[in-house]
């Protein structure tokens, strides 16, 4: 097997087919079965770099890793109460979302968002839920809900 890099078109076409197949099988429930996609990457590349216990700083570290690795051009974020807004620009996988939208499928997963969620959950044990992904002009705009702690219902 050649160790030359594979084309991005090939990778994204396969990721698209997998996501579309999963959507066709599971519908809107597909979103909840892919929430930890990217975990190995997170554990290997992101977690060792996270030193802070502040949400803002954790997000910035994940963004830095993804920029260095050429996965995204940038991730802007804003925390507004319990809402976390992410804006991912220049994502390697942007074409996947665009193809899904063209097929009438609402994008249901985002690897950069998953990495941010995993980072917050694994370092702070604060649950996070991806609520919405909107693709506009090549930019993915996401809304996530941030929770203070895991409920116990005692």
């Amino acid at each position: 097997m050649s160790d030359a890099g594979v084309s991005l078109d090939y990778v994204n076409s396969i990721v698209y087919d997998l996501e579309k197949a999963f959507w066709d099988e599971r519908g809107k429930g597909a979103r909840f079965r892919v929430t930890n996609v990217g975990r190995d990457y997170f554990l290997n590349k992101c977690l060792p770099r996270i030193e802070s216990r502040e949400v803002e700083s954790i997000i910035e570290t994940v963004e830095q890793v993804m920029r260095e690795e050429g996965i995204v051009a940038g991730i802007a974020h804003e925390i507004d109460g319990r809402l976390l807004r992410l804006e991912v620009q220049g994502c390697l996988h942007g074409e996947v979302e665009q193809r899904l939208v063209a097929k009438g499928v609402e994008p249901f997963t985002c690897i950069p968002a998953n990495l941010v969620v995993l980072a917050i959950e694994e370092t702070l044990d604060r649950p996070v839920e991806l609520a919405e992904i909107k693709v506009e002009d090549g930019t993915c705009r996401m809304v996530l809900a941030l929770f203070e702690s895991r409920p116990t219902f005692d």
Partner: protein, 224 residues
């Protein structure tokens, strides 16, 4: 059941009387009844007769509370996500009673809608072998059989997917119960004695559901 029914009448009555029961008395479920419920599950159909279902019976209070917390946490996250994107408000747009609407939103976003599982005297955790072709369908048939037997026994149950729909929660659940990698947690069925009778929930009419030979050609005419 003191009334007398023939087999067809009894079958449809059990199906129509089934409710999703989320509030239970403190009374325990007898071993005899539990075994009848599990026997109903065991008799379900499965692809290739694979019988991929396995069941973990949870009665221990501390474990039940953890099941409730995982279920409620998952529901709370998902419904909060629906709320903050205003999809929940759109879903309940036709509900005019604002106080009732607010109470529903609170119940859903807090996760209490699923956390009741912690109060069920018995939880039946339904798992399935992954090395079969039809796992979700097989186990769903077993679950429905259980719900019908629960109804026949005048007990109450609720089929809860909240603690395992998200893979993050399913992993917690598997860790809690020691479920091995080759199995998937499908759902939890909370069982107990209902605190009160429940009204039936509305069902779509057959004429909206059934097509004649081709999609969108109604099999039944709409009743005027």
């Amino acid at each position: 059941m003191s009334e007398q029914y023939d087999l067809v009448e009894a079958t449809i009555k059990i199906i129509q009387d089934r409710r999703s029961i989320r509030q239970y008395t403190k009374d325990s479920v007898s071993e005899e009844h539990l075994e009848m419920i599990l026997e109903a599950a065991r008799q379900a159909p499965s692809g290739e007769n694979a019988q991929p279902w396995r069941f973990v019976i949870v009665k221990d209070e501390a474990t039940r509370k953890q099941l409730g917390a995982i279920a409620g946490g998952g529901s709370g996250r998902r419904f909060t996500a629906e709320f903050v994107t205003a999809k929940m408000q759109a879903r309940f747009e036709s509900l005019e009673d604002e106080a009732k609407k607010k109470a529903i939103f609170e119940k859903l976003t807090s996760g209490r809608v699923s956390a009741f599982l912690g109060d069920a005297p018995v939880s039946i955790v339904v798992c399935g072998r992954k090395d079969v072709w039809d796992l979700p369908y097989d186990t769903s048939a077993a679950i429905e059989n259980m719900l019908l037997m629960v109804t026949a026994l005048e007990l109450g149950a609720c089929w809860v997917i909240a603690p395992c729909i998200d893979i993050r929660d399913e992993e917690r659940l598997k860790g809690l119960l020691g479920v091995p990698e080759g199995f998937k947690v499908i759902s939890i069925v909370g069982v107990g004695h209902p605190t009160r009778p429940h009204r039936p929930r509305p069902r779509l009419p057959l004429h909206e559901l059934v097509f004649n030979e081709k999609w969108d050609v109604a099999y039944y005419e709409e009743e005027s």
